[in-house]
Symmetry: C2
Subunit: 97 residues, 2 copies
């Protein structure tokens, strides 16, 4: 029981862990150091795991895993959108004042 | 069976997905846009899930999950080390030539 609980907490921390990265991008409008390939691979990996999560819920188990995995998918998807939105931006401190 | 396979492939893609980000950091020596808070939270989340993964293996199941989760833990850990190593670097294109 303890380990399932740790897995659940870990899943929530892992999923919500991307919020500070999103806040940083919104603040700086700079994404130059982020690897778009990495975020696409991570997005693809999580999307494949989402099929398993849905499969588990259809069988009546694993709702928490579906919630945390879906949260990760949404937040990584948001980061990908920001990477394309801001990819031509020079980061704030290099812009002429 | 199919969904377990998709989960496994998803886990490997998710874990190895961080390799392009590591290569980008090694090339540019610039980590300014990466949120160290995010990578700490993601590291913590994966570490908690690692306890569950080890628990599963002790019970004779889930070896693949332990492998992919450990790979994620190592790669995210490496990114954290790089963030501290290069955090004072200006990215290459802003360095005086």
């Amino acid at each position: 029981m303890v380990f399932e609980f740790l897995q659940l907490i870990g899943g929530f921390i892992l999923a919500s862990g991307w919020i500070p990265q999103i806040m940083k991008i919104v603040k700086t409008k700079s994404v130059k150091d982020l690897s778009v390939n990495s975020f696409w691979l991570v997005f693809l990996g999580i999307a494949l795991m989402e099929t398993y999560a849905i499969h588990l819920v259809v069988q009546g188990v694993g709702v928490a895993f579906l919630i945390t995995n879906s949260l990760s998918l949404i937040l990584i998807g948001l980061i990908l959108i920001f990477i394309y939105l801001f990819k031509d931006n020079k980061s704030k401190d290099t812009k002429p004042q």
